[in-house]
Symmetry: D2
Subunit: 346 residues, 4 copies
């Protein structure tokens, strides 16, 4: 068994990492840290975890973590990982970072969108972007993995095959995305108060969401062209689930069937990606609780636009599950270990 | 008081028309027809209407209706209005049609999207499209009003000022729309079953939804250019509410403030339209139960795209409320009569 | 028009009072106070109110209120009304208090359940309990009305006819109640965070909820017997609605039809109460947004238990609507003024 | 691996059995039957199952099932199991019946509540009631298991320790229960239509629900006294989850702590039952997707009433999970096999 530390454990991403680690055949949750919840039992905060995790949240202490654990998952706010990752790496740990701190390769872009200086340029250069379906070759043996954001995961999986193959133009992509409320985290606020969310669908942070440059970075890399992304996230009255509806200008006409075939070829052998038959669109419900990404494709022949929808569970493939998937690859474990459990049908 | 008939009364659109007629200072619900519910009390089907409507659903009988009512609202499936409208018009009634039968001016387009022949070309030519904010001048005294669909209402209100003014290019518009489940009507089915909808966000009828040509017709009229609409509706786990997020290619750069000013100028004096300050986006919750349309605008300066979101209640401004609004104008009543009641804050 | 002040206006109860006052034929909202929101426009906090209330929240100032308004609605936390009510009454205003401060006639019971001393014994003695369906005779001309809590409203309406008539034993009553989340107010917290509430049904404050003694006081008054209430509130994943399921031990056998007849006789002429036919139970949906209480009755003949369910909208009949209803009676206005508007059917 | 047949596979109970069998270390889903869905791929009906179950629904054929499978789960409507069970037992299969047909030991009670004759008296006598926490001793080697209904599971787990120990009187028990909509099954209808359920809490089948005699049978057995149950189920706007709030008359005073201790002693060693500390009540969310039952206890000292709430997932511990748990015991497999996976935290 590999001993695991989870830093920032009581947030939703951290708690889902805890859940998946607890059910993982090779991982064991050993240290769970939290400043706010230190001293509380995990099972008191999350009664559903009580039978599986007999532990108490503790304050973060790098020396203790390094002495007892081999791998650390970071589920902390941005800037916190800039402090924590170097210390743990110094102590020869593997760091799987679910925060935003090492996702954007250009530190000036990070500073522009996050409003703070990036203080770890060397580690930023070393960090591996953890979206295995785009490129898993750099993951084995990596010391520091930057797991993608939830929106970029869905947007990149939806757009990459079309842009990588050249069937669609890469200069501008429209991503209209919709997320459940758990994406906003576990801290209550006016925007996540039940009566304010229920029966309310709302765009937010239009043109200013911090996942925008991350999607642009990924698509530019795939296409070889500087890609401009118009990104509009919406909050949806549901707990989990994220769906990105992506609009791509076709470079030339293509049939629905050929588009599906191209995507299926691109994702052949991927354990967590399903490309639906032509015309069938995915729902967030069908991936709820799972690490899967389901993709649906329709070509608007009249307008020359490829419409691709990708559904994921924002807390699993969009956060905790992806972190586990990356850790599995990094450590040379079966990629699907701990992630391949059928989920409730509704 | 003006005596009103509601044909197809127990569906959601019909029931909301019934509700609004019951609360209207000048209207009185006299005949409510339904084949399926004939013989049942209105208050048994909808207990909330019991104190206000002491009536029994009856079979449709044009002669009876014409003898007792002056105005008929049609809340029937498409093709049914093709049969009903001529008969009632023949009997000198005013017909406010909430169905799709008289919305598309070109009968071949109707036949192409609805799969049936249009049998009333003369009436189609006479029918007035009932979106007062685009053009209320043709409504006073009209005999037959074709009330817009719910999606076209939101999409047209969102896009018309930009296309009409020429600040955006009209050849292609992307409409990513999201609707609550009541938009699917009152008849249960696998797609509206609570456990199938809850926690599920899903695109549907992508490129094939019948509101597509209606949006194209409206935008082409406004812009003077043949407009191609890429239209992707999504089903959202909420009862009411519809939000259209519209992406328009700017013809030239414009600031957020100028775009807002242009929209406010366009909708100056409109009793039911609010254009939010720059950057503020509408939510479906804030218009729930009301006849209002709330519009938010953000310019993506980097991509040269104008993003406009319009939120309405699909059953009110998207159906029953709009029908009442049209009837008020047709009959020379105060346009806001029966529609200007503050709605619950959550 | 009667000029109205609303103290504590931006909370849900205050906002709903604002909404109902804005739609009332005789009332005009003139001063809306809030410490937290002072300086903000009403329409910025609640966009749905923007077209109807052109006002800014201000700090509470008794002199200003008294100089400009005739009636004040208090929608403040308990203990605040102990401070505010005397000052406004001193200035000859009518005070309709939606807080808990003047509901419990015995100040020692107040102190026991609320944990603070009651400082206004004289006003407490003078205050009229505002549940018109139990006794509206004391309301006309009252200076200070204590509006009931949401749970007591439903529980008392459900149990009073059976206890008042003697068909059920009054010594012990079981009230199993369920409420939507808006009952917890507008302040976000861990217990009202969307992901924590959605898909979660939970009992809370079992045996310790502060509405317990209020229900006991009301039922003891009705029955003439000291009534012990076992009260279990539950939080339900919905915004609005409250349903109390009350279990009463029958003193003697009674048929469903006779029980219904007895309730209908008791509530004959009540403008806001419906007693359903035998066997039909109410739903919270059918009273959503309205000031109505719908009651359903089933006799468990095998066990000798009368089961009565009462559904209300917790923010209307359970708070704001009831306050308006009381004000109407106090001021000699038509009791249903501003409250008798048909509500959306779903 | 043990080859499994699932009869009535596409309903929610059947689909959840399919899911759990697919994730079970010793079971393999081999034949899935359905009259309505015969010929459709499992993965088309439930996309989330597609990666795990590569099968097509087939018509029921006892001979084929018996030739290929050792165990059959029946997820069929009542009366269907009366036909199917004998045939499969005749063919030496083990039958785990999730239907109601073999739950009520007295065939006249079955006939009284289900309105049809019970045609299998011998098998009824042989069938073992499958609630392991009450009595697992009769399960090993059983041929026919009658799995409890969802409501009885929660009600019996909540009430049995108090009645079995004699701390509460057994002659009459009040069970106020609340269930998510998936309990109504997968067939759409007016009562499960999203807009009719959302924001709606409603009692249904009051005093007439068929789970009533099953709860009475279980409690009478535990207490040795003929128990009368007042049972009021409510439908709640959520997909999953069931909570039974049980009111028991205490025979003598007991502290919260002692009541908790008694329950913990009664359920000591139970792998799927948690009794919360005194005063902490369970939520349906904390058991969502799991086979666990969480119990909370509060004593109303003033009224002498023990209030016990039990939360389960109606489709897991209330249906599919319990069936797997029973099968594990019957077959001598680890009782928790396939059921002990941590579930999502929200």
């Amino acid at each position: 068994m590999i001993d695991i530390a989870i830093v920032g454990a009581p947030g939703y991403a951290g708690a889902e990492i805890t859940r998946l680690v607890a059910g993982h055949p090779k991982f064991r949750p050993v240290i769970l840290t939290s400043a706010a919840a230190a001293g509380r039992r995990v099972g008191d905060v999350y009664p559903s975890l009580a039978p599986y995790v007999d532990a108490v949240y503790v304050e973060f202490d790098a020396a203790v973590i390094a002495s007892r654990c081999k791998v650390a998952f970071l589920a902390v706010p941005h800037t916190a990982a800039l402090e924590i990752a170097p210390v743990l790496l110094e102590a020869h740990m593997t760091v799987i970072d679910a925060s935003a701190d090492f996702r954007l390769k250009d530190p000036t872009v990070y500073e522009q969108w996050y409003g703070v200086a990036h203080t770890q340029h060397d580690l930023l250069a070393e960090a591996v972007y953890g979206l295995p379906e785009l490129d898993r070759s750099t993951l084995p043996g990596a010391r520091l993995v930057a797991c993608p954001g939830c929106y970029p995961t869905a947007a990149l999986l939806a757009a990459a095959p079309a842009l990588g193959s050249g069937i669609a133009r890469a200069d501008r992509v429209i991503v209209d995305a919709k997320s459940g409320v758990s994406g906003a985290g576990r801290t209550p606020g006016p925007g996540t108060h039940f009566p304010a969310v229920n029966e309310s669908l709302a765009p937010y942070k239009v043109t200013s969401h911090r996942h925008t440059p991350e999607i642009e970075q990924g698509l530019s890399l795939v296409s070889g062209v500087e890609t401009r992304v118009v990104f509009t996230p919406h909050l949806v009255p549901m707990t989990r689930g994220l769906l990105a509806t992506v609009y791509l200008d076709l470079a030339e006409a293509i049939s629905d069937a050929d588009a599906v075939a191209l995507y299926r070829e691109r994702y052949r052998g991927e354990p967590f990606v399903t490309v639906h038959e032509a015309g069938r669109m995915p729902t967030t419900l069908e991936v709820r609780g799972s690490n899967r990404a389901h993709i649906g494709i329709v070509v608007d022949q009249r307008a020359g636009v490829l419409i691709v929808a990708c559904a994921i569970d924002n807390l699993v493939k969009g956060a905790a599950g992806q972190a586990i998937q990356c850790a599995n690859i990094v450590l040379g474990i079966e990629e699907t270990a701990g992630l391949d459990v059928p989920v409730p049908v509704v």
